[in-house]
Symmetry: C2
Subunit: 144 residues, 2 copies
DNA sequence: CTCCGTGCAAATCGTTTGCACACAG
DNA sequence: CTGTGTGCAAACGATTTGCACGGAG
């Protein structure tokens, strides 16, 4: 969580109420919201905001290193945590959770990359079933 | 590369010329083709085939474990190599290459997953610049 | 005053779906 | 024969774009 105004200025951009609201909401969001979800939340604070602005701002945040875009199945999700980490994705409810771990950042060095490939970032995604869905699944099979 | 006819039957499906062609082409493809690319290639062998059939068949192959779907930025790419491995993705030309490595499969155990999360598969993607694009980039800056 | 960022609506792109027919089993 | 897989075209969801205006600097 940095001073957005200062950050934006350093990157040659302008500060707006929309950008502040989007960044605030993204930082405060518990999960890893999609652009649409973020849009819904931000609209409570900036009623007239448009979805395109949310996309624009998110792209700016990603390009300037303040956020990370997690793309995979379905709509992309966004994350502000900028230390290297992986994600889990529930195959049932598609929730994304963080996997803070030094292993992730150390990984790059261990991989035998194609000759000449210049690595920039490593992302790790663990697909599976989240605790919540596993619990419900167990209940369901108990009920049946 | 398995006997597709037998595999499909074991999974309760039917064998068709389209499915055979798609699987053949996917196995023979050097890179990691998108559905669209695959469609173009398969059309040379089965001129009347439809893109929907390519999507259907790919989904079947993925569901039955004969192929892997690599989704991320842009269109999804497909891969037949079924031993655990990671991928590199060039940020410039978006080429996807394989990273065969035991580290990837061993990774799951080392990560501190959220409590209760049941892992199913681990995917690793290294973003960066591929050798080809790096070479061209170097040339370009030399020229300038 | 100058442009960058915005809002809106339409366009685009990848993928899925509904339907009638064909052909594998 | 029976029902699954096919081809087509239309629908769909996520994201991008073009354009004119408004507000930050």
């Amino acid at each position: 969580m940095v001073d957005l105004r200062e950050h934006v200025h350093r990157c040659g951009g302008r500060m707006t109420a929309q950008r502040e609201a989007i960044y605030d909401v993204l930082c405060a969001a518990s999960g890893h919201p999609t652009a649409e979800e973020l849009f819904m939340l931000v609209r409570e604070r900036v009623p007239g905001i448009s979805l395109a602005t949310v996309y624009n701002t998110l792209e700016m945040l990603v390009n300037t290193g303040l956020a990370v875009k997690i793309s995979g199945e379905g709509p992309a999700r966004y994350d502000t945590m900028c230390t290297p980490h992986g994600h889990t994705r529930c195959m049932h409810c598609s929730t994304v959770e963080d996997v803070p771990d030094a292993v992730v950042s150390a990984l790059g060095a261990d991989l035998s990359l194609p000759a000449g490939f210049i690595p920039w970032s490593v992302s790790v995604e663990v697909k599976g079933i989240c605790a919540e869905c596993a619990r419900q699944g167990a209940e369901a099979s108990t009920d049946a």
